[in-house]
Amino acid sequence: MSGAEAGTQPVTVLETPIHLDYVFTPGIAQSIFLRGLARGVFLGQRCPTCGKVYIPSRGSCPVDGVATDEVVELPDTGIVTTYCVVNVPFAGQAVEIPYTCAQVLLDGANISFMGLIQEVPADQVRMGMRVEAVWVPPDELGPSLASVKYFRPTGEPDALYESYEEYL
């Protein structure tokens, strides 16, 4: 029978690093959206069946299962549908806490995406608040949502709850 020799520490943990390399493509539809961001514009795509505008589109209308072929340029403005205030630090965080993350529904879009809200204290962000995108300087634009520095209030009156309730 074997036993640990004097002085040997019993092994309880095994380290097995895994490193895998990939060549990643976001696909055709998302490339359209990302290339738009690199030009400082929001490009959505319309479903030919239901007419809804998706931004970003992953290539299909999730409801109808058909390609969203028609590209639609959307404005920089929209509303906060809902939000949370981030108070927790975590790896990869780009902004000093506390800050506000909101679901932003661009005017003309039928789906919201998450955006940072700045130039307003966290406790003054509201559901229905009108916001506009602030882009990074032109030389920093790239194919990523990081091209949108943040959204800020436009000062317009809030949207009525009924106008965005279906997007919650």
């Binding site: 990939y22 060549v23 493509t25 539809a29 290539g59 299962g65």
Partner: protein, 366 residues
């Protein structure tokens, strides 16, 4: 043994993406969407007819979690559907759908699978299937392990390198007739033997290609099947079995799990099959599976070219079932067997018996 009678369920539609070495532009949703669209269009069905949806895929091919979640957008599951996913080849997703259909409440189901092997190094990725403590840290590729198996077969006097070349030559020549095949060749076995070894005794030709692909099947029960397909491919039996994971505890020259699954699927009862689509990514594995399925010389094996002509990981097994069913629809086969495998050296195997007649449906179970 006699298994209880089963509800007749048939493969009525099948579509696959053209198998390619590298699908560089489209993401998984974009790859899958036309396949799903085609599998419905071929029979005039729609997603609204489907009582259940089941898919098979693995996150490690794309290198991110939850790849099946976004892939579902290729179908459009609205209104909500009964839907599930297996981290297995699509052939196993088909099995789950078949099981649910046995209970009688579901008359039609969509099954699909997808996977791009090109974004990463699939030989490194598949090493992560091995036990993570003592085997995966050695990073043996599936080729290295298959080569051990091939050498064991050669040592046992049950195969020669020439026979492996013959298998490869026949599959890739047959693939000429398959518009979706990736690797076709008219090279003779003698010419193939000039290939270099990748991991000896396996030469280049005995290996599967690296393939990006996707596939979809529609299953239908009873009258629904006859409505959609004049000559449905009835699943008269389907079963799958697994072996131990430790290679050193297995006889690598045999596939007892294939043989047992075949028995439970009723393959050895009734008339012999005339056609087989076997999922043998490496040439010598076709010899092992043929023996386990007791396929005689009269059986046409892999008219599609099999996994040696195109091996989209996670779809190659489901495609075998689709290819076999298509032969029955076309009256090129009366009774066929399809086989899917998973894991190193044929660790896990599924056998599906398809018949032009919905007679005695047997198989499955203990």
């Amino acid at each position: 043994m006699s298994a209880p009678a089963r509800r007749p369920v048939a493969v009525v539609s099948f579509a696959q993406a053209r198998n390619v070495r590298r699908e560089a532009s489209r993401n998984e949703v974009e790859l899958l969407m036309p396949v799903v669209s085609e599998v419905f269009a071929a029979i005039g069905a729609s997603k609204d007819d489907m009582g259940f949806i089941c898919s098979g895929s693995t996150d490690y091919l794309v290198g991110g979690p939850f790849s099946f979640v976004t892939a579902l957008d290729a179908v459009g599951v609205w209104p909500p559907r009964a839907e599930s996913h297996v981290e297995m080849d699509g052939a196993f997703a088909l099995y789950e759908a078949w099981v649910l259909m046995q209970e009688g409440a579901i008359d039609a189901a969509l099954v699909y699978s997808f996977g791009r092997s090109s974004p990463g190094d699939v030989t490194e990725i598949l090493a992560l299937q091995l036990d993570p403590y003592v085997t995966a840290p050695l990073w043996p590729s599936p080729v290295a392990l298959a080569a051990l198996q091939a050498q064991a077969l050669i040592d046992a006097g049950e195969a020669t390198e020439e026979e492996l070349a013959e298998v490869a030559a026949r599959n890739r020549s047959a693939a000429r007739a398959n518009p979706n095949a990736q690797v076709v060749s008219d090279a003779s076995p003698e010419e193939l033997l000039a290939d270099e070894y990748v991991v000896a005794p396996l030469r280049r030709h005995a290996l599967p290609p690296i393939t990006d692909g996707a596939a979809a099947i529609v299953l239908a029960a009873g009258e629904k099947a006859r409505e959609w397909r004049e000559r449905p491919a009835w699943i008269t039996g389907i079963d799958h079995r697994i072996e131990t994971h430790a290679l050193g505890c297995r006889d690598l020259t045999r596939s007892p799990s294939t043989a047992l699954a075949a028995e439970r699927a009723g393959l050895f009862e009734g008339p012999p099959v005339d056609l087989a689509e076997v999922h043998a990514p490496f040439a010598h594995q076709e010899l092992i599976v043929r023996r386990a399925l007791e396929l005689g010389d009269a059986v046409t094996v892999n008219p599609s070219g099999g996994a040696l002509a195109a091996n989209p990981v996670m779809s190659a097994g489901l495609i075998r079932i689709g290819e076999a069913a298509a032969r029955i629809w076309a009256a090129e086969s009366e009774r066929a067997v399809a086989h899917a495998t998973s894991g190193p050296c044929l660790q896990q195997n599924l056998v599906c018996v398809l018949d032009a007649s919905d007679g005695a449906v047997v198989g499955g179970g203990a």
